[in-house]
């Protein structure tokens, strides 16, 4: 009879420990650096644990290796950069560099580092770390993505140390997105990583195994440092005791003691964990907001509408005039004639009921999209692009003008009598996209056009689009937002993601030549109004010529527990912009 007592006692003990307030976490206290940055936000209170979840596991903690958003997000928590791209204001703000000067030639940038900043192990941060980082990035022994971003036409930037706290970077030509690009480069600790740099094992350092066994070796300049990583379980970050920001009362940020990320199986599990009150923040898709709202009062959270997401969705036709090695054209010639006819593409665009898609498929939480940027990208979005509202009569008129006519079988035929029929390829993993594809098929049927749907797995689809080119039409999405420089591979006719006809040697049409010119021009001036004028014209041409027939953009939502104060939610990017300023009056959830 004594046996059951033990588990009951244990349960009682666990319950007790769960109810009692958590022990006050004592943090190491260090004097604030001379160059401390004082936060202008509301003054809060230290303490608390912020919990979120991630459906993806980090593949590395080394910024030179990281290619995926999940790893990049975790690295951004502990590695800081010279400047920050504020996702809320879309402005460049001081980071580890307190200020910077731009020389009149618009190519020379002098960064003045914050004095007194220390790495999380207490070692001083200096210009040597900046030099070391660029040395590592440009070293051909360590191929990495940053090396490509930090060069213009294959030429590297010149990096010089003026003194311990001053660094000068010179670009070979004027390079418009310079500050934004530098803002993404996490600076590496020279004193920790130099041995690995010398013996050529830099890409192997700071991998997931190091993160598990020796988390303290991942030195931090950011608000947090890694405390522990258990694969498939959780990642715990703790407050960096040497962080260089403080509040107006001189209390060092971040306020939260710990940042816990639960690693879950998939997006469904992540959403469910938030809806049942297990996590503090979660990005929500429009179709899930409806039911999650019902749990808001029970678990004390609010759902914030971030507005339109930066994700675009579009349909396009293969306009590649080439042929495969056997001499067979990628696209049947008479179909290529339709696809390269602007009136045909505009007619299709007018035939799509985007309002219906928003209302039906996105539960009314989204808006029609007419151009390559969504309103989420406030700084660069052009609202005055050509729109194609749902108007089947206009579609028919455009088709008639282009020589198409409805035959006795009630189907559309071209001038030569060919039946207008094409196959639309999309990926099957995305149910919202499948729904849109079936709705598109119905819209086209009203115009007498036969659309066949083919759903492939993502890898096969990308192979068709980028390698074999043997398809007629596709439906995919791209994540927009950010600087126009990020769109060069899409808009430029040489680009790899110029999907309707990629990797062109010379632009196939005058308007593609014009876009090439504009994209190149905007890259070589630092003047925002000029760049904006150029990029506005790119967006206008894209909407006039409709190589991509844009569909809709869904709104993005973030759910956050009400106990968190000082929340600033950016329209794009991470869920919470100012994790270091978050605080809670309620230490227990």
């Amino acid at each position: 009879m004594a046996q059951p007592v033990f588990p009951i006692a244990l349960c009682a003990l666990l319950l007790l420990s769960a109810c009692s307030p958590p022990p006050k976490v004592s943090r190491q206290t260090h004097p604030l650096p001379a160059g401390v940055d004082i936060a202008r936000s509301e003054i809060g209170r230290s303490g608390g644990v912020f919990i979120d979840s991630s459906p993806g596991e980090p593949s590395t903690f080394n910024p030179l290796v990281s290619e995926d958003a999940t790893s990049g997000g975790f690295i951004g928590l502990f590695l800081d950069s010279l400047v920050h791209n504020n996702a809320v204001t879309q402005e460049v703000e001081p980071g580890l560099a307190a200020r910077w000067d731009i020389a009149p030639d618009n190519r020379t940038f002098t960064f003045h580092l914050r004095p007194g900043v220390l790495w999380s192990d207490g070692h001083p941060f200096s210009a040597d770390d900046v030099l070391f980082t660029f040395q590592a990035i440009y070293d051909p022994r360590f191929p990495n993505r940053a090396a490509f971003d930090l060069s213009v036409d294959g030429q590297k930037f010149k990096v010089e140390k003026i003194d311990d706290l001053t660094v000068r970077l010179t670009t070979p030509q004027i390079y418009a997105p310079f500050l934004e690009t530098v803002g993404g480069v996490g600076l590496l600790p020279k004193h920790e990583l130099e041995p690995a740099f010398r013996d050529g094992t830099l890409l192997k350092s700071w991998n997931v195994s190091v993160a598990q066994k020796e988390p303290q070796r991942l030195l931090a300049t950011g608000a947090f440092r890694l405390r522990s990583y258990q694969p498939a379980e959780r990642i715990v970050f703790e407050a960096n005791p040497h962080y260089w920001r403080a509040d107006a009362q001189g209390v060092r940020l971040p306020y939260v003691d710990f940042l816990v990320t639960k690693l879950v199986k998939d997006a469904n599990a992540s959403t469910l964990a938030f809806a049942t009150g297990q996590t503090d923040a979660e990005g929500l898709s429009p179709d899930n907001v409806a039911w999650i709202d019902r749990y808001a009062s029970r678990y004390g959270f609010s759902v914030f509408n971030r507005g339109p997401s930066p994700n675009t969705g579009f349909i396009w036709f293969n306009q590649n005039p080439g042929h495969d090695t056997a001499g067979k054209p990628f696209v049947t010639p008479y179909k290529l004639a339709w696809f390269t006819d602007r009136r045909f593409r505009q007619a299709i665009s007018h035939g799509i009921d985007r309002q219906g898609l928003v209302r039906g498929v996105l539960f009314g939480r989204g808006q029609p999209l007419w151009g390559p940027e969504t309103p989420a990208n406030k700084k660069w979005y052009n609202p005055n692009v050509t729109q194609y509202p749902y108007d089947p009569a206009r579609s028919r008129a455009l088709l008639a003008e282009a020589g198409f006519q409805i035959g006795p079988d009630q189907k559309l035929h071209d001038r030569q009598g060919n039946l207008v029929e094409f196959t639309l390829n999309s990926n099957q993993e995305n149910q919202l996209r499948v729904n849109m594809a079936t709705a598109f098929k119905e819209n086209m049927r009203d115009l007498g056009i036969t659309v066949n749907l083919s759903f492939l797995d993502f890898g096969t689809l990308v192979g068709k689009i980028q390698d074999s080119y043997d398809y007629e039409a596709g439906m995919l999405g791209l994540t927009g937002g950010g600087d126009p420089a990020g769109g060069i591979s899409v808009f430029s006719s040489k680009g790899r993601l110029h999907q309707w006809y990629p990797n062109q040697k010379t632009p196939a049409t005058p308007w593609e030549a014009r876009i090439d010119q504009l994209m190149s021009d905007q890259l070589h001036t630092l003047d925002y109004p000029t760049r904006k004028k150029y990029f506005d014209e790119v967006q206008k041409i894209m909407s006039d010529e409709t190589p991509f027939i844009y569909l809709v953009t869904a709104n993005a939502y973030v759910g956050i527990k009400d106990r968190w104060k000082n929340i600033r939610i950016p329209p794009l990017g991470s869920l919470v912009w100012n994790l270091d300023e978050l605080w809670t009056p309620l230490l227990t959830p």
Binding site: R294, Q431, L453
Partner: protein, 350 residues
């Protein structure tokens, strides 16, 4: 023999009920275009996730209630008080082809536009679930029949030949069946589907799935048929046939194989559910029937989303119910058939 079988089957309540149910289901699948009020691809983006419409008796006519979309962001609908639309019988609706041949516009029942009837609600793009269920039945149910026909044919031929000829054909056939039975079914299915998918246009997927499922399924039948033939060929009537000088092929096809039919009928009936579930599993995983065609597995796969459960769109799970009913019916029928065919197997108490 068939009449005897039928008579003894009908004497068993379970067999009779399941036979009737299956007849009903296959009938519904066959006459799907006529029975359904619309066509499976007809969408209505202003009525997505519409709940099943209630039927009421009003003014001496069967009518459907009309609904109003209260909140598009949660797809909440509310019946409009005292507003109904009268059901019209044998009226004209969207055009279809009966048996893929005879064009027609007659439907058993429709309501006049703009009202719509959703007997089992609507899906993510406002398509009628009832209509898609009926059209999907055609695919899901015929896959079972065609698949079983193919496997029975393959199993009978290969098993019969192996058992009768013996020697190296027997060894070859049996090693092949062992290989097929040793490979984990679902993985082989996935691998075959992936390898063949790029060569087939999407409308041929249906045939492709049947072929894949049959190519995997014949091994078991072949082994049993071989065993049956092995024991039958030592019986006196085969000896007699041999003695009067009948040719081996005649003996095989006239005397041996017909004697395995009773087993085959039972085995075939019991294996139909396997095909239906196989198709459902493939479509569920996104490797089977593709949009805009419908099948029960595909419909069920699309209902696998938390919001379906959280917002209680229960009508999207009806394909699951249809699968369960069909599978149970086939199993009961198979049991009843076995009892009828071979009284020695009859379980005590029956």
């Amino acid at each position: 023999m068939a009449a005897d079988l039928l008579r003894s089957l009908l004497r068993r309540p379970a067999g009779m009920i399941s036979a009737c149910l299956l007849l009903l289901l296959y009938g519904a699948a066959l006459f799907a275009p006529f029975l359904s009020p619309t066509i499976p691809s007809a969408q209505d983006l202003s009525r997505t996730y519409h709940p099943p419409t209630a039927l009421v008796w009003q003014n001496g006519h069967l009518s459907v209630r009309l609904y109003r979309l209260v909140d598009p962001s949660t797809a909440t609908y509310e019946p409009l008080p005292d507003q109904t639309a009268t059901l019209r019988w044998f009226s004209h609706g969207p055009a279809y082809k009966f048996f893929w041949l005879i064009p027609s516009t007659r439907h058993l029942f429709t309501v006049s536009s703009p009202a719509t009837i959703y007997l089992l609600g609507s899906d993510a793009t406002g398509r009628d679930v009832f209509t898609r269920l009926l059209y999907g039945a055609g695919i899901s149910l015929s896959i079972g029949l065609i698949g079983v026909a193919l496997t029975s044919f393959l199993g009978l031929t290969i098993g019969g030949l192996a058992g009768y000829l013996g020697g190296w054909p027997d060894t070859l056939a049996m090693r092949l069946t062992e290989f097929l039975m040793a490979v984990p079914g679902l993985y082989l299915l996935l691998a075959l589907r992936a390898a063949l998918s790029s060569r087939f246009p999407s409308d041929a997927t249906f045939l492709l799935i049947v072929v894949i499922l049959s190519a995997l399924g014949w091994a078991g039948t072949a082994r049993v048929v071989r065993g049956l033939v092995l024991s039958l060929r030592e019986r006196p009537f085969i000896l007699a046939a041999n003695v009067i000088g009948q040719r081996p092929w005649t003996i095989l096809f006239r005397h041996l194989l017909p004697n395995t039919f009773s087993y085959l009928i039972v085995a075939a009936t019991l294996s139909v559910p396997g095909y239906i579930l196989g198709e459902a599993a493939l479509s569920f995983l996104g490797l089977g029937i593709q949009e805009p065609s419908s099948s029960w597995g595909l419909m069920l796969g699309q209902a696998q989303d938390i919001k379906i459960f959280m917002l209680n769109f229960w009508w999207l799970l009806t394909p699951g119910l249809a699968i369960i009913l069909t599978v149970i019916a086939f199993n009961l029928l198979g049991d009843a058939l076995r009892d009828a065919v071979d009284p020695r197997f009859r379980l005590p108490g029956k």
